[in-house]
Amino acid sequence: MIPVTVVAGYLGSGKTTLINKFLKEAESPIAVLVNDFGELNIDAELIDNQESLTLSLTNGCVCCKLSDDIGVSLESLKGKDITAVIIEASGISLPINIANYGLSWPGFSLKGILALADGQSIGSLLEDKFVGYTVKGQIEQADAILLNRSSGLSLEVLKGLNENIFLEEEVSNYTDLLSAKYYANHFIGDSPKEHASFQSSIFTSNKPIKRDDIKKYLLLNPNIQRAKGWVCEENGIYSLLQMTPSGCNFSPSSFKSQTRIVFIYTGKLSPFEF
């Protein structure tokens, strides 16, 4: 299955620059699905060098899936020599909606959601009467945030929404940013020595899951350091799971997402049996 990464973020958050960096760094061919309505300009030269390809997305019909551009693009990649897909979410997309392609399009899997935020504008965007909620969702739903042009104030605000924040200056290799390991390490803490031993696994499911089963599983595997994700429970309840060494917490979520939990652990995990 081809891994899919979603790059989310509001207008002006730097998605173009980041995607160009991915294309430049990629060692094997990747496909980039870009949104046609934004500001995105892909550097054509970078693509030629890499045998990578770019497909552009439009949104045709708003009421049905009769013209599903992302789906059509993913389907067209099957059988091509592509090792990874990056989807640029449009500025108004909630990343989970796009990530659902990674979770639900046959032949693909979701690697992660990376959201970009511009330190100068994120504070006011979060307060915006029209898009405040959307931008908040982009930050909350991401596995990692890349913050450009940090400013003290917004960093505090952002940490309250998502603790896994990278500052632009601490990233040396952008492709690494997508590897679960890189952000797994970041998740846990600062000691570079311990990093090597952490691993991460992602559990996804399309069936409702019992909260108690997850709790039991966490107790059974004390080597799990962190867990975070969305859980679709029975009776159509959606919740956000956050587990740290100090405890496990389920909070109600208004995002209708399928179950997807990222586990960060050392050693071995027992098989998922939810």
Partner: protein, 546 residues
Amino acid sequence: MITVFPAKSIITMNASMPSAEAVAVRDGKIIETGTLESLQPWLSKHDHEIDEQFKNSFIVPGLIDPHLHPSMAAVLLPTYFITAMEWKMPWGTTPATRSPTEYDERLKEALSKPTHGELFITWGHHNLWHGPISRSRLNSIDSKTPIVVWNRSFHEVCMNDAALELLEIKQEDVENATQIDFEKGRFYEIGLGYAIQKLNPYILAPEVFKEGLLKLKEVVHFGGQTTIADMAVGLFDFEAELNTQAALYENEDTPFRVELIAHATVMQKGNSVEQAEELIAKLPERNSHRLNFGKRVKLFTDGAFFSQVAQLMEPGYIDGHHGEWLSTPEQFEDNARVFWNKGYAIHVHCTGDLGLELAVDTLEKMQDERPRFNHGFTIEHFGLSTPEQIFRLSKLGANISANAYYVHELSDIYSNDSVGFERASSMARVGTSFREGITTTLHSDFTMAPAQPLMSMWVAVNRVNEKGNVMCEEERITPQQGLEAITINAARVLGLDHEIGSIRAGKKADFTVLQENPLEIDPLKIKDIEIKATVFEGKVFNIKTQ
């Protein structure tokens, strides 16, 4: 040669002469309305015939549906309808089906007829009425015919074993996909996209698309319409949509015209808004007699009302979920500015009150930057709104094109499960918009609601929902306003009021012939008035009664 049509009454929608007894027509245009006596100065000097076929009927201006989607209709109409609401179609009425057992019976009955093709697709399933659908339920009804059940909201399909086999959807290919429940045969959201890809060869095949557009032609005539607007050409494929409509509708036996409004973001595809505007500016070069592009464009703010993704202001949805934007406010404003400055009438799809707020704020900004009068900025759909927004819309000179059918189908469920009674009962606030003096029309957004202007008028006048309850009587409009909405106001909103929308000397001879007077009949019967015929540019097109 002048043809004179006497009638029991001609309701002209021309305030200077609201009713008449006869109308004289020559070369597709109205010469004069009045009485047989008052028409004499014309008749005594020119050849004429008196056509008495409507002498026991009522003539109103040709009805107009100012917002529907021929391409969506073309996809939907070839499917078999089993729906919770009654749908009147030229080929028969689909009765309301309101329980799981009834649903299964209807499905069995349909499958027993030999008329369906290789793949049987039915549309209209709704969990609340028809119970959860699954592969095994469908298998038990018919395991040999490939069946696809398409949800009323278009957001889910369910298939039986035979359909999965025909479409070559295998368990091993889809088992990791979280929005595909293979065991139950259900495909939703992203999974639906996958299923639709497999279904596309069947539903978007050129022959099927043509069949659908030909069926729409019957539907439009049956609804008494002589003008419709395709309010977003390019939903699937701009060229195919335009060329197929031109091939099928530009001929003598089509009893209506189509006003075409381009979907701005589709025209933009990869280019700047300015480039999109240049392309749209050239579209009138492709106009023909019945198909016309004017200086108008379609933009979008928030998500679909039926799917509960309209953007709402506080206090939002009961369950705390939020709606969706279809473009960022910045992009919306940039697009609006380009078209505003070039003098376009901008039609904005907005469904929730926050989506509407964006449209109103933007219009206010445009008026500040570069004031315009009679600019035709139109709010399309008008699901939820506040009285204060309507006041602002009135001051800013906007028009409103409302989908009043929301009140009928959704106000009860949305009271309980979506936004609560106060806001659900006041969706499509057309009473306030008439009181504020806004040019207000009604549309079907077909396939979202039946393409029957008399049905739209009936809902707006009565506000009776599917449970039979009157929802917000203060927002009801009078029959007179209702008829204005689907005739002269619709023409104004499409910028065609100099040619159609009322019956007066000089306008096109477009009429709808009714068996009852819609202004005098019990308002609860408006939707059931028999439509006898339409007249398009002077030519009579009879409607077969079922």
